[in-house]
């Protein structure tokens, strides 16, 4: 959402936009001003800048989010093994402490930048911006951003990525999308990981996990995989290859992509803003 095009205006707040201007004077010397400014303004501004960097260099940026220990780093290790001959990959790692994950990625022979957030529970666009400047984007095709393991805060911060991938490991419970709607609604793709463990777990129903995602009005595809035994990895790798092609086509056409949730939101808010203008016009 931005302040220039009016897409901040939703049907929930359009009553605030009054004909005759946004500034109204009260009698007691107090001036009331309608603002409708997004409070993530500063972060989102940097995120837009990051996305421009990625697009300018023809790079696909993917944000991986999940709870801690759901297998993000293990998935990246396997993914790099399968794709490093075909694509130039780098990883930005977010953790509260340690270089452990970046070292694991470097052992796969690709560059990795570790962001240690201290006590911050998520990455934000500023942190990613600094990390991006330590990468040579022109020599890359895909940048994976491995967010801090957390099913809450990372969902609220646009980093400048093109796509959100949310992992749910089968040890966590199939009702996670219902418990953490903000996170799972943000997913462009949901991965059910550690499926090799399904054999010993009788309480995780992959269909239920998908149904709970659909309850969030999400059309995101669901891929079941195991980084340990390799099941389902080809579907994930194929999805990634397709996304790289789509990104290169977008760059060629001068287009860009925001994660699905933000794109839909912006379109909708523009429509509401137009409606409210029409209403104001007919009822001055």
């Amino acid at each position: 959402m931005c302040d220039t095009c009016g897409c901040n205006i939703t049907s929930g707040n359009q009553h605030l936009i009054k004909p005759g201007g946004k500034l109204s004077l009260a009698n007691n010397g107090v001036t009331s001003i309608s603002v409708l400014k997004n409070l993530m303004n500063e972060n989102d501004h940097v995120a837009v800048h990051n996305r421009e960097h990625f697009d300018k260099n023809n790079v696909l940026a993917i944000n991986l989010m999940s709870s801690p220990g759901s297998g993000k780093t293990a998935l990246l290790e396997e993914t790099i093994q399968q794709l490093k001959e075909q694509f130039r990959i780098a990883v930005i790692e977010g953790d509260l402490e340690t270089e452990n994950d970046a070292e694991r990625i470097r052992q796969q022979g690709v560059p990795a930048i570790q962001i240690t957030t201290g006590s911050a529970c998520h990455l934000d666009a500023h942190m990613v911006h600094d990390a991006v400047h330590d990468l040579s984007l022109k020599d890359l095709d895909i940048v994976f951003i491995e967010n801090v393991g957390n099913l809450v805060c990372p969902a609220s911060f646009d980093l400048g990525q093109h796509l959100n991938v949310t992992l749910l490991s089968v040890t966590e419970g199939d009702d996670k999308p219902s418990k953490y709607p903000v996170m799972f609604r943000a997913a462009d793709l949901m991965l059910l990981t550690k499926t090799d463990l399904l054999a010993v777990l009788d309480d995780f129903d992959t269909n239920k996990a998908e149904q709970n995602l659909r309850q969030l009005a999400s059309d995101a595809p669901v891929i079941k995989l195991s980084s340990r035994n390799g099941d389902g990895l080809t579907h994930w790798v194929d999805w990634l290859k397709q996304q790289v092609e789509l990104q290169q086509a977008r760059v060629k056409n001068g287009e860009s992509l925001k994660p699905a949730i933000q794109k839909e939101g912006a379109q909708l808010h523009i429509e509401s803003s137009k409606n409210s203008l029409l209403q104001n016009h007919s009822h001055p």
């Binding site: 001003i33 409070l39 999400s218």
Partner: protein
Amino acid sequence: MHELAICQEIIIQVNAIASENQASSIESITLQVGPLSGVEAPLLKQAFPFAAAQTVAEHAALIIEELPVIVECKQCGSHSTVATNKLICAQCGDYHTRLVSGDEMLLASVELNREHQADKNQLAEANHV
């Protein structure tokens, strides 16, 4: 969560508005927050005094309007007010819906105190006469 950072952003924005409008202080700040924004109103209220201390908004009231989650069905077109984790159409049950309200996190309006400034202007006018 990141409520303190949000409060700091509020202070940056209202500070700019106050100086643009030559206000001496801020009476109230109204936010609109939907549950799907990921921000909790009680936590914002707790964090606000820390961010507002020694600023133009130090004595401002923070008013938070919590907006409902409303979806519009792409199949049958009806609007329903729904739970945050059940964004399906309440009429026909289809999950192809779009969110009409509920993910907002906006600075909606600000009430500025300009009395001090108005007094000064009057004084200037009186002197002129």
